[in-house]
Subunit: 226 residues, 2 copies
DNA sequence: CTCCGTTTTTAGCGTGGTCTAAAAAAGGTA
DNA sequence: TACCTTTTTTAGACCACGCTAAAAACGGAG
């Protein structure tokens, strides 16, 4: 049977697989902020339920049914995040904690109604794609870290690599939000920082670390016109 | 520390106190569909936390802090019910199960934002009053069970005594919704049933049991005009 | 006051999940 | 290959919360 903890583990496995290809116990320890023994223990449970495939000392793999649970949990998580930002006016650094609870509430029917109410959003407030009801990943975008842009690029912020509270609050303090359009004015080789120009003409320097965590789209010419 | 189970118990104690004045273990067994030993056990926990006052074999009493937790849980429950009905188009018999989970999510800030988003509703989809952020009960209404109405009354459904799924689905099947205005045409003494007239002219007979569970307001003359 | 049915508590167990500490396995380096 | 560090598993404990069965207390009727 599904529990909050089991859904959290399955979701974490899905994300780690997505990020790094292979899922170790250690990676789960870090992602879930737990202890190795707890991970081993839960993997036994998930394996018995037929949601993961796991041999001792080997990498973890989601089964089809495990992946399906993970995807619908992730779908609920991201839809509730959209709800909290769009309808309740929370900022993107405040929503994760509540979505972590809300993702465990509701069935498919409720989720689909929420999805419809929100206008079938494709991305969550951090720019992460929202799986469809059929468990499809809709991420066909071509994003690059802002650290890889060059002088002269006009770029739009479409996502973040690290959606931890600390980094998001850092972006908040710089007044950087999803959808923001910047122009790269200058790039310093020695520390990887870049100077960017805001829509209002203001100029700021962004550190290499900040730029690496910002996922942007390079704007084409016709898009500049709209 | 607050847990889902503890919040459910506190809420149940509040409601039983409201309904019948005094809270016995037995009443909690019935309300929470659990066993006497579980109740005794939890009362020890709640008492240790300072949320209830309980001496063996005596009635249970909420402390100020316990009542505060119970009220905010009830507030969240009823606000989420409004959300599910008003925004996601669920019917009133479908919302309780999800509200039972949602009521455990969010802090005061989130609750107040939800409240504002919903337009500060005073009543939930079953006609029950929603406690304010300050923990006030806003129920100054003068409702009576429809069983006590007399021939000639024009009445409006404002609440239900029993908001269990079964009864609500029964009302659904009769096409009876909150806010519905009916006129009492006939009352049969021998079985307590009454014949009522719908706004569209249709006439139906309602059983004594059904009428006893419908809380209505007798409409004054000037209200008939609007 | 004594009985007896009801309510409540106690005792003991089960389940799901966490943790620490220690043992075992893995895997890279000398 | 042998060693050493890291990773994973095992062993054993703990906590929250449910349950059953039996004991104890309560409270009304005779
Ligand atoms: Mn979660
Ligand atoms: Mn997100
Ligand atoms: Mn609940
Ligand atoms: Mn309700």
């Amino acid at each position: 049977m599904q529990t909050i903890s089991r859904e959290d583990y399955l979701k974490a496995i899905l994300k780690i697989e997505e990020e790094s290809g292979s899922v170790s116990n250690q990676a789960l320890v870090e992602k879930l902020n737990t202890r190795p023994a707890s991970v081993t223990n839960m993997l036994r449970t998930l394996s018995d339920a037929g949601w993961v495939q796991h041999e001792a000392y080997k990498a973890v793999h989601l089964t089809a049914s495990g992946k399906s649970i993970a995807l619908s949990t992730l779908r609920r998580h991201r839809l509730w995040e959209v709800f909290l930002v769009e309808k309740l006016d929370f900022s993107w650094d405040e929503v994760h904690q509540w979505a972590e609870d809300l993702e465990h509430v509701g069935d498919e029917e409720l989720t689909n109604r929420l999805d419809a109410f929100l206008g079938h959003p494709a991305f969550d407030p951090h720019g992460d794609p929202i799986p469809t009801a059929q468990g499809q990943w809709s991420d066909g975008r071509n994003l690059l870290p802002a650290s890889l842009t060059v002088v002269g690029d006009r770029i739009q912020l479409k996502g973040v690599v690290d959606s931890g509270e600390e980094f998001l609050q850092h972006l908040n303090s710089l007044d950087i939000k999803l959808g923001l359009i910047l122009e790269v004015l200058q790039a310093l080789d020695f520390d990887g920082s870049k100077t960017v120009k805001w829509p209002d003409g203001r100029e700021t320097s962004l550190s290499k670390q900040t730029l690496q965590n910002m996922l942007v789209e390079r704007l084409e010419f016709q898009e500049r016109e709209q």
